[in-house]
Symmetry: none
Subunit: 406 residues, 2 copies
């Protein structure tokens, strides 16, 4: 089955809102094994919407529209679909009564303009909207399925989950498509491409790479008649990839660097404390994003000036000798905060920007009773981007040492 | 001028990423007075991308593509544009040398696959990418303008701002559309709507409201033949709005709460230190986002457990008496860190989640030689959202006290 999503609304084309509906629906369709080839965003203009619907009718079996089901003159999705199918919209009296009841419950008497929302064409089934006045439409006609849903994301998602998805699942037969994301850090995309070149040309499972702030992701996608078969194909490919990329892989699917580090620390019953200068608290905040971080993360120190470094216990002579921001200082920071907060592991990040080059030097210090390690990295970009890369690099190195040495 | 945006990438069609580039570009185009009628998202498939480009060529003067400029086999935007225009891509030796230099600086020898990124067609001008290996293209041909930019949002935005926008402005003539954003905190959107009701119905200048993490934004947009006239219309409207919303307004346009607080602190020659529990370093990281923060921000303490609070100097009896997370503790945190780091002002944030209600109680403490203030707020949402709101609330209160009392 081929699908096309048609997000409608001039507010999208003016950049007033970010269209998150399409990403939600795209993900849902991929899990159902439905191929999505186009997302065609169009404004509240009858002619252009009708053109877009007609084009989708030519190239897709399933057309999903979002938006344009409100009570205003700018809401034209119902009218455009009616025109596409050559049908006449009429007021559904029972639906109109329901909308009146729903509305009066929250806001008093319903404005007459809302009667638009009670219009239906003969081939449409009404999909109720439990949290808004815009009902959806489910239309099966001439081997096509059209689904029209409201634009507000909470209304759309609830309607999808309760009213659309169960019906769609019943209609689905045939191939299943499954995906798995494999997450890496520390290798450039082109290098990964080179290492995995033989796999990248294959068509089932397919392999694709993309760049994220926390590394390069690989997506393995398999198509098969049964889920178990697709899972097996993905597992085989994952094993091949792991053999090549080994320790550069830090997680899969919904894993985050903070969550995998947290899992390691909890498993080994170790506590962590951090001290940062260059990253200003981004490291501690990222670590604490994991809901269970209170089990292992004690806290941190942020020194934005030398005075603060000294107030927190760093040796002023070392600072003078090695420089404010250096690998020796990063190691000293890790040790100071570990002892200060009685933690098992101390993690320090220092760094400097090189403003001429738009690049930064990052110094990471890891310190415990059992190990001392210092890592230096150079990242391109502006300061905020380098702060983020530094935090992910530090968590990646912490994970590595937890696996290798502790 | 009519524009069409073509976001490319199978990762969008699989729902793996949300396309925020289109919203950014749509907003930029609207400010330039360029009509955007379609956003046509397509995957990494040569035939479908070429079809989409050809359709855009028929109905738009300006075509903007994002994505597909990477070094991998899945990156096909260059090839598709070359095909659209009937031109032959060739390696630009100077560009290839530049990419090799850029790459070797960070990662060692460049993989041969990256040579793709140095290919150019005769009608394309190269737009440099200061923070990545994917250069953009600017193509003027047959009364059309095609702009090809990389997909990662930070690379795309920087290229847009430095390489594309200045050229595009030069080409633009006709009516000028100008906008100004007025930023508020502390009032609900419905309340602002009520207060500003008479203005919201007007058509030039128009007034629109948006919800953002750091408050409610108002956008005033005026259209006129000359910039000076549009600026005057906006200034008049802004004065009206300021009279009504007064101290709830904290900034305009590119102001951020951290930058306006920083400006106040610098003007008054005051230094700041922070102590956080609930917000885990997000406060200090936000304050330090301002490039000049080293002039006033000394650093911070993050206490994720009571042990850390005591290690940092809080009185264990107070903690016992008032509770770990309370307004008294937030005030004590502000005082402790101020004295610890010899700062003029201490800012403390404590807080608790109420998991049943999906809401949080936030305690903000402000402390100096001259004032002590404690503020309690209740915010709905999940933990990450409430952390963010708490940080903005603290900065908003700090700004208020700096204006009113210092």
């Amino acid at each position: 089955m081929k699908a096309e999503i048609i997000p409608t609304g001039t507010e999208i084309l003016l950049g007033n809102i970010v269209d998150t509906n399409s990403s939600f629906l795209a993900n849902q369709l991929s899990l159902l094994g439905i191929d999505l080839y186009f997302i065609s965003t169009v404004g509240d203009n009858h002619e252009r919407l009708l053109h877009t619907l007609r084009q989708a009718w030519m190239r897709a079996d399933l057309i999903i529209t979002t938006g344009g089901l409100g009570p205003t003159q700018g809401d034209i999705t119902r009218e455009a679909i009616a025109k596409l199918l050559g049908e006449e919209p009429k007021v559904d009296k029972k639906l109109w009564q329901e909308l009146q009841n729903l509305f009066s419950h929250y806001h008093g008497r319903i404005p007459q303009g809302n009667i638009k929302q009670a219009t239906v064409i003969p081939s449409a089934q009404i999909i109720l909207n439990p949290i808004g006045t815009a009902p959806g439409w489910w239309i099966e006609k001439d081997d096509h399925l059209i689904v029209a849903m409201p634009g507000p994301p909470d209304e759309m998602q609830l309607m999808w989950e309760e009213g659309i998805l169960p019906r769609l699942r019943q209609k689905m037969t045939g191939a299943i498509i499954l995906s798995k994301i494999i997450k890496t850090f520390g290798l450039a995309e082109a290098k990964i491409d080179e290492l995995l070149a033989p796999f990248l040309a294959l068509s089932n499972p397919t392999l694709a790479t993309y760049i994220k702030p926390d590394g390069i992701y690989l997506r393995v996608t398999a198509k098969a008649q049964k889920a178990a078969k697709a899972e097996y194909m993905i597992a085989q490919k994952e094993a091949d990839i792991r053999e090549i990329l080994a320790l550069y892989i830090w997680g899969t699917d919904n894993d985050t660097l903070d969550s995998v580090v947290g899992t390691c620390l909890k498993a080994k019953n170790l506590s962590l404390a951090t001290m940062e200068s260059f990253t200003d608290g981004l490291l501690s905040n990222t670590i604490a994003n994991s809901l269970e971080s209170s089990a292992y993360f004690k806290g941190g120190l942020i020194a934005c000036c030398n005075e603060a470094k000294v107030a927190f216990g760093l040796d002023p002579h070392s600072i003078k000798r090695y420089g404010n921001e250096s690998s020796q200082i990063a190691q000293a920071m890790a040790e100071v905060v570990r002892k200060n907060l009685h933690a098992d592991i101390g993690l320090g990040i220092a760094g400097t920007m090189n403003p001429c080059e738009k690049a930064g030097n990052i110094f990471i210090g890891l310190n415990s009773d059992k190990f001392k390690r210092t890592i230096t990295r150079n990242f391109p970009g502006n300061r905020l981007r380098i702060k983020q890369r530094a935090v992910y690099a530090a968590l990646f190195e912490l994970r590595k040492i937890l696996i290798e040495e502790v």
